[in-house]
């Protein structure tokens, strides 16, 4: 084989590589591009024959209508609040639980660990029916608790699993020295162990956030008034109202997707790393 042929073959291989990657990228992105395109046209233009439509006039007004009637601001606020509280709770509880299971000495620690980790295998949907009854009886339906409690409970097993794993790689010497100096367990956990768990805290936060941000099945079951509804309901409630105005529906879809997409594009390196760490260990 001559050197020229070799180089040509190398180039051809490179080309095939690019074609594969671009082809898959187009498949993954095209529906979203189409969505954005249709959110800017008028409803009548959608029925023309082109696959993508160049609108006569870009209808930004679709967005203002969608923003207002979809209660985007209010539901976005609820989503941010509930998800932040859930992330903080999961991180805190998984740190103290992991410490209790890995470091403290007690007989039942193995059993409790197995029990809590079992939660990873339980399908959320099987608890929708009984939880609906429980929350009705306790009159916490339509409150923030009806979302916060199950969100934290179902993210906790995975968070705990990751924390236990990371805690094993944290050296014991530091905390033992602190204990010798008369430091209590709580101070050991929050002043010495927690700072060393930083990367795992990031991973657990990202996983918890991804688990719950787009959740709507529990919200749909446990909430009936708009007080605590989360961002997906901007879309879910909207489609009933504006059944015939498709273009505005596309705008509300885009608005519902936008916050998570924006955060992802900004933090994408951290998020992909977090997911990779979480999933491979979990």
């Amino acid at each position: 084989m001559t050197k020229q042929e070799d180089a040509r073959r190398f180039k051809l291989g490179k080309l095939v590589l690019w074609v594969v990657l671009i082809f898959v990228a187009v498949i993954q992105l095209f529906p979203l591009i189409w969505l954005f395109n249709f959110s800017l046209v008028s409803s009548t233009e959608m029925f023309t024959s082109g696959i993508l439509v160049i609108p006569e006039e870009i209808k930004w007004s679709n967005y203002s209508t969608a923003f207002e009637h979809g209660h985007v601001l209010r539901y976005l606020f609820n989503s941010v609040l509930i998800n932040s509280l859930a992330v903080i709770s999961v991180v805190l509880i998984s740190i103290v639980s992991a410490f209790a299971i890995r470091r403290m000495r007690w007989k039942l620690s193995g059993l409790v660990k197995t029990l809590l980790l079992l939660g990873m295998m339980i399908p959320i949907h099987a608890t929708l029916l009984p939880n609906y009854m429980i929350y009705s009886q306790l009159h916490i339906k339509d409150t923030i608790w009806a979302l916060l409690i199950p969100y934290v409970a179902f993210s906790l097993p995975q968070g705990l699993f990751l924390m236990i794993g990371f805690l094993e790689s944290v050296p014991k010497e530091m905390e033992e020295a602190a204990v010798m100096d008369g430091c209590g367990i709580y101070r050991v956990i929050f002043l010495i162990v927690t700072p060393m768990l930083k990367p795992s805290i990031a991973t657990v936060s990202i996983m918890t956030f991804l688990n719950n941000w787009n959740e709507f099945m529990m919200a749909r079951t446990y909430l009936s008034t708009p007080t605590w509804k989360t961002l997906p309901f901007s879309l879910l409630d909207f489609t009933g109202q504006y059944r015939s105005n498709y273009a505005i529906q596309f705008a509300v879809m885009a608005l519902t997707a936008a916050p998570a997409l924006l955060v992802y594009v900004i933090l994408n390196k951290h998020i992909t790393k977090g997911v990779a760490m979480g999933a491979v260990k979990g």
Partner: protein, 291 residues
């Protein structure tokens, strides 16, 4: 010091928040579900204990069988279509290096950060016979007539396409991480020994990715079993239960057909199936690892 680590009071304060939450939100409801599974409760009013009747009915319930069959189809779709493509893309992406690598990785994961609610409505529009782009593409290619993508025969395949498309980035990312974790020294050694690309892939990349493949396969099968949200919004399990999945079915039975007791019985069996499949897969993979 040992005394400090054995302090029962401290241990309780540390473990109780998590444990109570688990009991209240997961274990307690499951026990309640078992109880309701033995009743004919409609969701309101009074109810009777009816023993195993719900569970016996479930054995004869064709729709439940259909739901399990659909989960199996979805799992096969993941394993035979999504994962092979994901592995290939991950391998190719790893070779790319530079900025393009990061950009492609970012693009592939985008559908995963978008709400299932948006995904379901978006694809409902994609399949729409009047303005959906699938039929427009067909028209563009000179195909006359419209295809009803969500008809009784077609719907399950259309649903599978959405789910395979949506989960692709997640699976790809995990394979990609697995490949990144392979020691580059091994590749160097292989190229010194004169191995070509195909052999390097088959003899080094694939065997070393085994643990990652096992994790990914387990997750794919479990998520095929647990599928609900997309189907709930895209087809509602229809038409005629052709796209029914277990979780969606138990929900419909409880809240639409007012057979709350029966819905709970399905829920209990559903949990047992999920636990059983997870344990089984772990066992299979453990044994293979020992060999």
């Amino acid at each position: 010091m040992d005394k400090l680590y054995r302090n029962k009071l401290v241990i309780s304060t540390l473990i109780l928040p998590g444990l109570l939450l688990f009991l209240f939100a997961i274990l307690g409801p499951i026990i309640l579900s078992v109880f309701y599974g033995f009743t004919d409760y409609s969701g309101m009013g009074s109810y009777n204990m009816i023993g195993f009747e719900n569970f016996l009915n479930l054995l004869k319930d064709d729709k439940f069988g259909l739901a399990l069959r659909n989960s199996l189809l979805l799992a096969l779709g993941f394993l035979l279509i999504q994962h092979p493509i994901a592995i290939i893309v991950a391998v190719v992406l790893d070779k790319l290096r530079g900025r393009a690598e990061g950009i492609f990785r970012c693009i592939y994961f985008i559908p995963n950060v978008i709400s299932v609610a948006v995904i379901a409505f978006l694809w409902k529009s994609v399949y729409n016979p009047d303005f959906g782009f699938l039929n427009k593409v067909l028209a563009f290619l000179g195909f006359s007539g419209q295809i009803n993508w969500l008809s009784q025969e077609n719907a399950i395949w259309s649903v599978l396409v959405v789910l395979i498309w949506h989960g692709f980035g997640w699976g790809m990312l995990i394979y990609y991480t697995g490949i990144k974790n392979i020691d580059p020294v091994l590749y160097e050694a292989a190229s010194i020994d004169g191995a070509d690309q195909k052999n390097t892939f088959l003899r080094i990349t694939l065997p070393l990715m085994k643990p990652v493949i096992q994790v990914n396969v387990t997750m794919a099968i479990i998520s095929a079993l647990k599928q609900m949200e997309t189907v709930y919004l895209l087809t509602g399990g229809g038409p005629g239960d052709s796209t029914q999945f277990t979780a969606n079915y138990l929900y419909q039975q409880a809240f639409e057909s007012f057979r709350y007791g029966y819905g709970n019985a399905i829920g209990v069996v559903f949990i047992v199936i999920c636990l059983g499949v997870t344990v089984f897969l772990n066992k299979v993979f453990e044994e293979r690892q020992e060999q």
